[in-house]
Amino acid sequence: MSLLEILRFAGRGVAANKLRSALTMLGILIGVAAVILLVAVGNGSAQAVNRSIEALGTNTITVSSTARGGTTPSALTVDIARSLHDPALAPDVRAVSPVVSTTPTMTHAGTEHPVAQFLGTHPSYFGSSNSPLAAGAAFTDQDVAQGRRVVVLGRTVATELFADTDPVGQQVTVGGALFTVVGVLAEKSSASGFSDPNDLAVAPLTAVQQTITGYGPVNSILVEATGPDRVNAAQQQVTQILNQRLKLPAGTAATGRGGGGGGAGAAPYRIQNAAQLLATRTETAQTFTVLLGTVAGISLLVGGIGITNIMLVTVTERTREIGIRKALGAPRRTILTQFLAEATMLSVLGGGLGVAAALIGSRFTIVGVQPVIVPSSVALALGVSVAIGLFFGSVPASRAAGLRPIDALRYE
């Protein structure tokens, strides 16, 4: 008896109970679609994180203070920042921008907006942090030298305060002082759902110190290396200078992977570069993907158990039919193949529909993430669903094939 013939019998068996077959396939469909889609969501969010970190600039180093006190000798100051820009000691540093940051409330014509990040810095910040302007112009070194009260707004702040009007040339009040808006930053893509990178305002360092923070130490120093491949060299040079300036032992390691750095007795500052940040974030995203994939895999397993269950019920229900077929001379192998084929058909059809559902689902944004299908996850999910059909179908199928014809015929 040809395989095609057996497949036809199996097809008839699947079609005989349409609702049950459909529900069984639904289990596999959901499992396969969940695996593909959730892995795609994980992958999509990882790619989004990478893109936003790359947009931030991969050749920057951030030196941030970990000291609590105000004017302790170890605090980062504008002087220290200036000393980092040294063509002799630090040839791989292109630009240095000291940054102070506060979170004041900004008002304009009765409208209030709490700014998430109000930064005081040098004009080199715009280049280093990869923040081009969409309208107006950045402030200049002269503005910094004269402490002129001008400000560049992020997209969110601009829309909050100046709904439709052009903010350039208008005045805003920050901490009791008037600032003139000179420019608006181009919109930045969100790195993750955690914070809005467009909710910021940037003003000359001196103006911010004068009006809000006072002339204390700076919060962080943004260092731009001469190129992405010089980041590590620049980081070493910066570390050396900082250790010297802050009178720390020469060997003090201050680099922190992610949030590391600065245990007891270590440096009172932390150095992070974008590459490290990228590695950390990618690692997190991968963990996230694996976690999602595992959960989805469990649902695929549950779908597989559903197939076993339905096939066991089918075999029990059709015991008599199996008896008749055996009495008419159906060999064991044919019965085995027929029931295995039925189980595999259910899982393959369910798996195929699951892939289709996942492909359709991936066209939509899910919890703010555009899913990116991983081709290997499609192959894996389909392969697993076929394997499930064969594996979970084999128990009921061998039970059916092993029935003795007289027992099967007597079964009511």
Partner: protein, 247 residues
Amino acid sequence: MTLYLVDGAHRTTEGPNRPVLDVRDLTKVYGQGEATVHALRGVSLTVAAGDYVAIMGSSGSGKSTLMNILGCLDVPSAGTYRLDGVDVSRLDDARLALVRNRRIGFVFQSFNLIPRTSAVANVELPLAYAGVKPAERRRRALAALDMVGLAGRADHEPNQLSGGQQQRVAVARALVTEPALILADEPTGNLDSRSTEEVLAILDQLHTAGRTIVMITHETEVAARARRLVTLFDGRITTDVRQDGAR
């Protein structure tokens, strides 16, 4: 294997005296120890080609066990069973399946058609397992249905047919492979008198055409149609008489 492929039509030309069925000292024991049941206690029976035999017996006489062994659905505990010259009492599962397919046509009391499957597909089934090509299969199945007078119902499913019609489909299925032996297990047990008459008429017709038929029944008027009546009691044959088979 080729031994089994001898054509059924060819066998009937060898004369009525060659035994189709040759059973010697058949015993069947179920269970062990105190629960031992001797279903058959030494049955010997020879059925010549073209004969029409009815086996009667009360319940518990062992006639169902004998039927299962004759139908190669079960194997005897001891004794030999030669079907059409081949000793089938010691064959393995796969070979028994082949013997059932090629040499025996079954008619069951409860019809045993495959549900949700058309009459012609039911009749085709043994041919499908025998590996006959679809077109040839369809032709032979329709011819068999025509013979039982159901050519017009070929596309009906079992639940659209009356009991008598279902049993006639089952008879068509039994004879479509041209088996050496047609085994009927209480073929009229579930039928009314009219359907019984229809089915028995077809069996008579098959007998006239030279088929070998072994039928189990507990109705004397049904048994009366056969040419030979064998009575079983307590696992042994008690009577074995020839009769004229007149209506």
